[in-house]
């Protein structure tokens, strides 16, 4: 698939030969994640998070299937099936529920780091635009899945979250309300909405898995990117995925799972909201309706629009919220700098870190009650978010002075382990034909 010096698949065991002649699955695995996939030798730990995300998709699917054996998708019985049956009576039910609940959070943590890696290192640039866009499709599917999953326990936040999110659609003139009623199967979240969300929540992760396969496939055509953004030139630039990156991914996944285990076993409700332990009550709105933490930045963008300028503020909010993700699809064409990696784009780097801080602040703004101070911060940060991608990046990519790139990956590795291991942004600026990182 990628490079001509990739080790060829040569099955020795007669059973593997038999299988390979009839269905080349082992061959595909060999060339996808085995010794037959050459990978740049200089990947740093920011490259581990794709595998971590994949592991969490698996964890979510496995725990989800098993939880579905006990879950009751009726408006009367859902809360009890989760909090009584599963949490108390089902053998290891509490473990499966907490693992699934926190697995979603850790899945998002891994995916967010993975996305920001892509933003910094220009992974979205040619020829990997489709990898990037498939990734965004995965992210959108994840958001839909997570939203619907959160509704299933039918707690207060489940119900009111469903109310708010389906309420977005009514912001659109004319078609909005009919679409909302169609989505819900009623005028408010009720039995009809619950059972269909359960059905779709079970379905979408498999759609995600299929898109993940496409995502990896699309990546393996040009091969993986690397921290320098310089293309692979020859054999010296790469190492076979197995055993080098299986080992690196392997231990790192273990460490990440350790953090996950500590949260799941010792603070399982830390990332959640207490109000979801109150059964849903359509007649009583909670003091503050907030989604789960991974939606907070978007919630902040939504709430930031408070003034009816030409369009109602609610519609602005909804449009901006959807746009904030949709604009990412256009990133390869907004940022057309031929230099991929932020390591060699000092001006870009500064704005990148501003974006990181901005998104964190947006998260803070979206996670609490809308006080005037929070609103103001949210508005400033939301404005920066849009300006960053739509105005600043195109300008920066057009006018910046980039640092000279190393002539090849192995050159950059040769001239210091520091280049290979440097956390993002620590490459110093020097003149000369080769970027020599400080030791």
């Amino acid at each position: 698939m990628s490079f001509k010096w990739a080790k060829p698949y040569e099955p020795k065991h007669p059973m593997m030969k038999w299988l390979d002649e009839r269905l080349p699955l082992p061959r595909i695995v060999y060339h996808a994640t085995g010794p037959g996939y050459p990978v740049p030798r200089n990947l740093n730990y920011w490259w581990n998070f794709g595998a971590v995300a994949g592991i969490f998709l698996t964890i979510q699917i496995v725990t989800g299937i098993v939880l579905a054996m006990h879950y009751y998708s009726s408006a009367d019985g859902a809360f009890n099936s989760v909090n009584q049956l599963i949490m108390r009576d089902v053998n290891a039910g509490w473990l499966l529920r907490y693992a699934h609940m926190n697995g979603a959070s850790f899945f998002f943590i891994a995916v967010y780091i993975h996305i920001f890696r892509g933003l910094y290192y220009g992974s979205y640039k040619a020829p990997r635009e489709l990898v990037w866009m498939l990734g965004l499709v995965i992210y959108l599917l994840m958001m839909a899945t997570a939203f619907m999953g959160y509704v299933l326990p039918w707690g207060q936040m489940s119900y009111w979250g469903a109310q708010v999110i389906t309420g977005f659609f009514s912001a659109f003139p004319l078609v909005g309300e009919p679409i909302r009623v169609w989505l819900l199967g009623g005028y408010a979240p009720d039995q009809a909405a619950l059972t269909r969300f359960f059905s779709l929540h079970y379905l979408l992760p498999f759609v995600i898995a299929a898109v993940v396969i496409l995502h990896i496939w699309a990546l393996h055509i040009p091969g993986s990117g690397n921290p320098t953004g310089v293309d692979v030139k020859d054999e010296r630039d790469t190492l076979p995925f197995h055993p080098f990156y299986t080992a690196k991914d392997g231990w790192f996944v273990g460490a990440f799972l350790l953090v996950y285990a500590i949260v799941t076993f010792f603070a399982p409700n830390y990332l959640g909201h207490p109000d979801n332990y109150i059964p849903a009550n359509p007649l009583a709105t909670p003091a503050e309706i907030v989604p789960e933490w991974y939606f907070w930045p978007f919630y902040a963008i939504l709430r930031s629009f408070t003034f009816d300028f030409l369009l109602p503020a609610k519609l602005w909010g909804v449009l901006a919220m959807f746009s904030s993700i949709l604009l990412l699809f256009f990133l390869p064409w907004l940022d057309k700098s031929p230099v991929r990696s932020g390591n060699y784009r000092p001006l870009f780097q500064r704005f990148f870190w501003l974006l990181v801080i901005d998104v964190l602040l947006l998260g803070w703004a979206g996670g609490g009650a809308p006080t005037p101070f929070r609103n103001a911060i949210g508005q400033i940060c939301a404005a920066y978010y849009f300006l960053h991608f739509l105005v600043i990046l195109p300008l920066v990519s057009r006018f910046e002075t980039t640092l000279p790139l190393p002539s090849s990956i192995s050159e950059s590795v040769l001239h210091g382990e520091a280049a290979e291991a440097a956390p993002m942004g620590q490459t110093k600026k020097r003149g000369g034909s080769v970027a020599v990182p400080a030791e």
Binding site: R88, L95, A247, W251
Partner: protein
């Protein structure tokens, strides 16, 4: 083309946000939001030490949990249901099967059932396999009996409130007269008739009258003096148990899994280092990984009798 449109869209969004920001700031300056009594006088929960706190939390203090259950049975269960807890779960508090059977059949509210002969709705004594029967048959009855307020189910209350057991404890011991300075500052915020002032409650005025009022309201079987403070602590501990019955197993499994993952990660890391060591060393020492260079080096080293 994309960039032109993007540029405009970006400016539009930023512009509308700026307008929102400016109008928001202007509103704040011209008519600052009135301070709310709730914001100023609401108190965070008091500190409460429970055996179930922390990494090593457990339910070994069964004496306290049983006292808490006694408080629930004799005081709270008049209005509050415990619908998610089964009588058989009381085994976790150290009660024997026979005791549980008696607690269930003696429980003052019976389980709704059908008369096996006439088919009419009736009630029967609870069995250990039943959940705690609700004091009221439905929400309407509950509100009717409580001044239109609905006493919440207590099974998950310590997970459903910020502060958990400490919140419950603070609430139960926090009933007091409305402070004079509150009335001075917010004359409209006088506690309405039928409500009770409690600064630990989010809205400051709670419909529940203070349930624990006198020492000795409950006579503890183990002889512990039943002060209001003690009863509040005990019932808070009990309610932490009802919300987290799996806590001890969870912590035990947590330790095993965490230690396992720690060891597995360390082993994995060492294996990773070893696998990469050769690759890194080859680049560092011999330059590009040309097989001839490598072979040359190895031969030279073998000649010198130096380990490769």
């Amino acid at each position: 083309m994309v960039r032109v449109i993007a540029f405009l869209v970006g400016l539009v969004f930023a512009g509308v946000l700026l307008i929102s920001l400016i109008t928001g700031v202007a509103t704040y300056i011209s008519s600052p939001p009135a301070p709310l009594a709730a914001e100023e006088f609401h108190l965070k929960p008091k500190h409460l030490d429970l055996a179930s706190d922390g990494l090593f939390g457990n339910f070994k203090n069964q004496a306290q949990l049983q006292r808490g259950f006694q408080v629930y049975s004799e005081v709270c269960s008049a209005c509050h249901s415990l619908k998610l807890v089964s009588f058989r779960d009381l085994k976790g508090l150290g009660y024997k099967d026979a005791e549980i059977k008696k607690i269930a059949s003696d429980w003052k509210t019976q389980v709704p059932s059908i008369n096996p002969e006439t088919g009419e709705a009736s009630t029967r004594k609870a069995l250990p396999s039943d959940t705690f029967p609700s004091p009221f048959p439905n929400e309407v009855a509950a509100r009717a009996a409580n001044n239109n307020a609905l006493p919440p189910d207590l099974s998950l209350i310590t997970k459903a409130r910020e502060g958990g057991g400490a919140y419950v404890y603070s609430l139960l011991t926090g009933f007091q007269n409305q402070p004079a300075e509150l009335l001075k500052k917010f004359p409209d915020a006088k506690t309405p008739q039928g409500l009770h002032y409690n600064p630990y409650f989010a809205n400051l005025n709670i419909a529940m009258p203070p349930p624990l009022t006198t020492t000795g309201q409950v006579t503890y079987a183990d002889g512990t003096p039943a002060t209001v403070d003690q009863m509040a602590r005990d019932v808070a501990a009990f309610l932490v148990w009802t919300a987290n019955p799996e806590l001890e197993r969870r912590h035990a499994a947590g330790f095993s899994v965490s230690i396992f993952l720690l060891v597995a990660s360390i082993l994995g890391y060492l294996a990773y280092q070893q696998i990469w060591y050769e690759a890194k060393r080859a680049v560092r020492v011999t330059g590009p990984l040309e097989p001839e260079n490598q072979a040359k080096t190895r031969r030279a080293k073998a000649k010198q009798g130096v380990a490769g």
